[in-house]
Symmetry: C2
Subunit: 213 residues, 2 copies
DNA sequence: CGTGATATTGACAAGTCTCAACCTGTGTGG
DNA sequence: CCACACAGGTTGAGACTTGTCAATATCACG
C-alpha cells in the first residue's frame, strides 16, 4: 500500500551505521496478540491494514478495551518503559514497527505520528465522554456510528467484535450490550441481519442518541 | 472576564534561528476559560505552570472532564478544524501557545510534543479503564493517588477541584463522590482535614483499591 | 444432526443516581 | 464582634439503570 512504499523510501540510509532495518512489516491473522501490557516497550507500531484493539486489565481480570485502531493508527506506547496496553488484532492485519529512536532521527516520521497522536487523543476524549456520561443505549448507538464511514449510508455494517469485546469497549456487560441492540431494533433504528451484521435505518435518531458529537 | 492579565511574546528565545515569535505566554487566574469546545482551532497550547482541565459537553448539558493537565501537558487539539474540548484553569496558570504550522517547521518542538502526547495518551488509556470498569470507591482512590506525587508521602494533598468537578472527571455524581470520600475516611484510608485537603493514611490499601496501576 | 461457541432473554440483586434535607465554613454587613 | 447569607459539602430514602446468574436460542462446523 501507499504507506508501505513511503515507509521504505523514507527510511533508507538515515543511519547507515545500523545494520538492522528499523522498519519491519508483520502480517497477523485475526485474533492474534501483537503485544502484551507490561512487556518492555521496544518499538512503536502502526496499523497498515486491518483492525486492532488495545486492552488493559485490572488485577482481578476486569478488562477494558481502551482503543479501536484502523489503518494509520499508532500503538505500542508506554508511560514508563513497558507497554501500557495489550494489542490484539480483530481482523487479519498488517503492522509496521519503528524503533523508538527513529522518532528523534526522522522528522518526517515524527510529524506524521504527531498528527496521528492528535487524532487518537481526540478520539480518546470522545470515548471518555461516552464512558463517563452516556447510557447503555447511547453508548451502543455511538459505537455503531463510529464504525460507520461517512460515505456508507445504505449498506450493511460488519462488526468484527463479539458482544463481550463491544461490552469491554463501552464499559458494559455483554448482556447489556445485547439488550441495547435489541432495543435499537425494537425502535426501528437498526436491523440485525446477523449477530455481527447491522444495518442502520434511522441515521438521524442514531445521531441524536449518540449526542450528535 | 478576568482571564488575560498579561501577554508576553517570545520571552526566552530558545530558537534564535526563527525570527518570528511563534510563542506567546499567557497568565490566567484560577477558574478562567482558556478556550471553548467548537471554536476554530488556531493554536496548540502547553501548560507551563498551574493546572488545567479539559471538558466536553453533551447537547443536554451532561459534562465530562476528559483530562487533567499539569506543567508540560499539551492541549488545544482538534480532530477537524475546531477545538475538541473546552479548557479551564483550576489554579492560576501560565500557558504558552504555538502556531499549528510551527509543528512542521520546528523538529525540536515536534519531538517534545510527541513525547508529551504519548504520555497523555497513556494517561487517557488508564482513565478509560477507570471510567469503564471501576467502582465509585475505586475511582476516587485512583483519583487521589493520581494527584499524589511519588515523593510526597506524609504531607497533605490539596484538591483544587469541587466535588462536582471531581465527579465530572470520574463519571459520577457529586453525591457519590462525597459518599466515597466519607467511606475512605470511615475505613481509615484517608483523613479529610477540610473538604479540599486530604491526607492519605494507608497508601497500600489505596493502591490496592486503585488497581495498583 | 449433534456440538460448542456466541447471543438473547428473564428474574432478581446491587450500585449509583435523584431529590431533598441538613450541615459547615467563609465572608459580609450591621 | 456577632448574625446572617451563601456556596459548597454531607447524608438519607427511594427510584432506576445496569450487573449477575441462569435458562434458552441461534449459528457455524464437523
Amino acid at each position: 500500500m501507499r504507506q508501505i512504499i513511503e515507509e521504505r523510501t523514507g527510511s533508507h540510509s538515515r543511519h547507515p551505521a545500523s545494520s538492522e532495518p528499523h522498519i519491519a512489516h508483520m502480517r497477523f491473522t485475526a485474533h492474534a496478540t501483537v503485544l502484551h501490557e507490561g512487556d518492555p516497550a521496544r518499538r512503536i507500531m502502526e496499523v497498515v491494514e486491518g483492525a486492532v484493539m488495545l486492552t488493559k486489565l485490572l488485577p482481578d481480570g476486569r478488562r477494558q478495551v481502551v482503543e479501536l485502531l484502523g489503518p494509520g493508527d499508532v500503538f505500542g506506547l508506554a508511560a514508563c518503559d513497558v507497554y501500557a496496553c495489550s494489542a490484539e488484532t480483530l481482523t487479519a492485519a498488517i503492522i509496521t514497527t519503528h524503533e523508538r529512536g527513529a522518532l528523534d532521527r526522522d522528522p518526517t516520521l515524527a510529524a506524521r505520528l504527531l498528527r496521528r497522536f492528535e487524532a487518537q487523543l481526540c478520539a480518546m476524549h470522545s470515548h471518555a465522554l461516552v464512558l463517563g456520561r452516556m447510557s447503555a443505549l447511547e453508548r451502543v448507538a455511538f459505537f455503531l456510528l463510529r464504525l460507520t464511514p461517512e460515505s456508507v449510508v445504505g449498506s450493511t455494517l460488519h462488526l468484527s467484535m463479539t458482544r463481550q469485546e463491544i461490552a469491554d469497549f463501552l464499559g458494559l456487560t455483554l448482556e447489556t450490550v445485547s439488550r441495547a441492540f435489541s432495543e435499537l431494533k425494537r425502535r426501528g433504528l437498526v436491523a440485525l441481519l446477523r449477530a455481527d451484521e447491522v444495518k442502520i435505518h434511522d441515521h438521524g435518531s442514531m445521531r441524536r442518541l449518540a449526542g450528535a458529537a
